[in-house]
Amino acid sequence: MKLIIADIENIPFEVHGEYKMIRPQEKIHNCIGCFGCWVKTPGICVIHDGYETTGSDMGKCSELIVVSRCDYGSYSPFVKTVMDRGISYIHPDFVIRKGEMHHKRRYKNVIALSAYFYGENITEREKWTAGKLLKANADNYDGKVKEIKFFESIEELEGIRV
């Protein structure tokens, strides 16, 4: 399955095949940094506001597709909050990969990560940061980067094929 995390209610492109979409329908509560998704209810966030299963949804996907405004080279607050709330995708224990500390896997799936960023005046520097962010996320999920693209507006996202 494809898991799509988008910060807009209606994405202006079609998705082929089976997918689940997480988008700003309900108000999202921010992660409170309690690690309850690791040590209270492993695999699920303790805040039950409709976004608590992101971690286990990630465990079922082959592709993670992010559609986000680019804010300072980061995902937008909504998308980033969903990702913060989804850290139970990984296991709390540490492993060393390529000389650096990361987390162990909880699930077996290898995620192919793509991001479609939109926004006016995204600077070259912000694009550079966003590219590194995607790579760092893929390393931490023990997955890989598939594609990253930048668009000037939401309308331009129409051209996306996923």
Binding site: G33, W38, H91, E100, R106, A136
Partner: protein, 207 residues
Amino acid sequence: MKVVLINASPRNSSSSASLLESLKRYLDGQIETVELHCSKKVVSEDDLKQLRDADRWVIACPLYVDGIPGHFLSCMKQIADEVKSTPHVYGIINCGFYEGIQTDLALEILENWCCKSDYSWGGGVGVGGGGALASLPKLEPGVGPKAPVDKALKNLAETVLKNIPQKNEFVSLAFPRFLYKLAAQWGWRGAIKTNGGCAKDLNKRLS
């Protein structure tokens, strides 16, 4: 001349708070300091006023998923919209992984924010092994596993007092990585047992 110390952790008792406390010791008496806690998505009117009144901001923030926590990204957007002054901004990012360098992206995001908002980026400190900071015994500054962190904070305090920029400095605890890893893993096992579970629940896969 005033420094606002912004704690961007959502937690009440946090490593970010303890880092700011240490920094404050090096600033004390030499400049007025004000402390803010941005633990939610919205910055209060009072806090915005404090930000407008200061010429230097120090943001202490945990690393979340290689970047800035979602709630604080909202705060940053709000501040950029509502505070049109030109402060010097410094950052202290702490992360759970051992290597301080893993915080460089979060510092870069703060820098990009400054560029877009006409604030002056002053550089900062990236602290690895942050998960242990709050639980380490309180020793004299510069002694024990926290010594490299104290040294970096002392340098940062001098930079802040001079109101000049610095290069990002990355530090880890003076504590072997394999022991940090072990201690964390004991910690998770202890925590899940306290919550009535057992160690193997840590591996739970949901279908």
